[in-house]
Subunit: 242 residues, 2 copies
């Protein structure tokens, strides 16, 4: 495919997946509410939340990111909070909550298919996502968006070294690379560190893990938009600058 | 690095990881024995094995391959086989068995570091492994073998399409590619299908899932050796053929 000549030097636009291309955090919130309901006879909500969060953080080094690790952390939290008295039948309910997360139809962000189709005419499109390989691949397959992307990269951690390795592998100079995502910590900060450009699209629900203290589009050299549908316009604006 | 000129046309040697570079199946067997011990008061061993296997196969489409999925399947099997009566404290023991699997020192195959150091002088070395991204990356890091490999590919399924995509991405012609692994189904058959070459090193413990009916080195065009230490000699022999 020949690409129209433009004045922009951005050639590759890479997208985060969860909470950038499709909703994800709302599914976690919904599942956590059902999990709290299960343990509400034993403990107040705040205590359940705190313990689940602590268990997840403690287990990150064992499990990494993703739904399967989250399922295991829910099971472990339920055991701890009931001092081992919880019955297998209730733990099965927790497993079913997790399987439901894995099976849910992928709920795309508004206009995402149209935006990708537009951008694919001018840019090489990639997905760079963190998490569970199997889960991310099946979600991408179910999303119907796969054909827009020349490359899918599922990584276990998104830091400057990860991005540098991906760009090197695909022979992309950082000046020609723009990353789009909802997480300042994973999608914006490390990309700026290696000299790439970044567009932040904050998600309605922010995971505390995703935030970077003192970082904003006013103090740092990245762009911020409120919805994916604004991306083609923003890229055109960057493009039109002399 | 300049590579010595040889008459062989193999340029890239790719290795499966679990049960090829390091022991893996024995850890599963050991864990399953501990799992059976936990459920022995309720059921005979054969019945536990059969149910665990069925649960794993049923859950593959949810979880893919890897230790986290195996942990979830053990928990689910224990709940089923006790009709939900198993206590949380016993399920915690199952979670601890899984975490122990994830933390264990990586037990390398005999001579693997030496073999890789030798081959790296002549060939581009890759790892192509199936399973959980996070788990495989941490195992490779713990193995100390990472520096020998130019590329690590963790994939969710090893079929002809997967291998074709990897070779395309790295601009490797199938005639220049040789895969080494313990699974006829995942490491040998699909590589032969795309025109690559393959070396089978059977593992002492064979997972039934890895076998291919009617396939042997006598009827199919691949090599078979009994240990990784024989690989440099085999490659030299292939090399010396006119």
């Amino acid at each position: 495919m020949t690409r129209p000549k433009t004045r922009t030097d951005i050639r590759t636009v890479a997208f985060d997946a969860d909470d950038t291309l499709w909703h994800h955090q709302n599914l976690f919130e919904e599942t956590q509410e059902k999990f709290r309901a299960l343990l509400r006879p034993y403990h107040p909500d705040a205590w359940i939340n705190e313990n689940l969060h602590d268990t997840e953080m403690r287990n990150l080094r064992h499990f990494g990111y993703g739904v399967k690790g989250f399922m295991l952390s829910m099971v472990e939290t339920a055991i701890q909070l009931t001092e081992g008295r919880i019955q297998g039948s209730e733990i099965q309910k927790i497993l079913d909550l997790g399987k439901d997360m894995l099976e849910r139809p992928v709920e795309l962000m508004p206009g995402v298919a149209q935006v990708l189709a537009t951008l694919a005419q001018q840019f090489e499109l990639m997905v760079i996502t963190k998490g569970d390989l199997f889960d991310q691949e099946t979600k991408l397959a179910r999303s119907g968006l796969g054909a827009h992307f020349s490359t899918i990269e599922v990584v276990s951690e998104k830091n400057a070294a990860t991005y540098a390795a991906i760009l090197k592998r695909h022979s992309i100079g950082p000046a020609h690379f723009l990353m789009v995502g909802n997480s300042l910590k994973s999608d914006i900060e490390p990309v700026l560190q290696i000299g790439g450009r970044a567009v932040h699209i904050p998600y309605e629900l922010q995971w505390s893990h995703d935030q970077v203290e003192g970082m904003s589009a006013n103090t740092h050299d990245y762009f911020e938009i409120t919805a994916l549908s604004e991306l083609p316009g923003l890229l055109k604006k960057i493009d039109d600058k002399p």
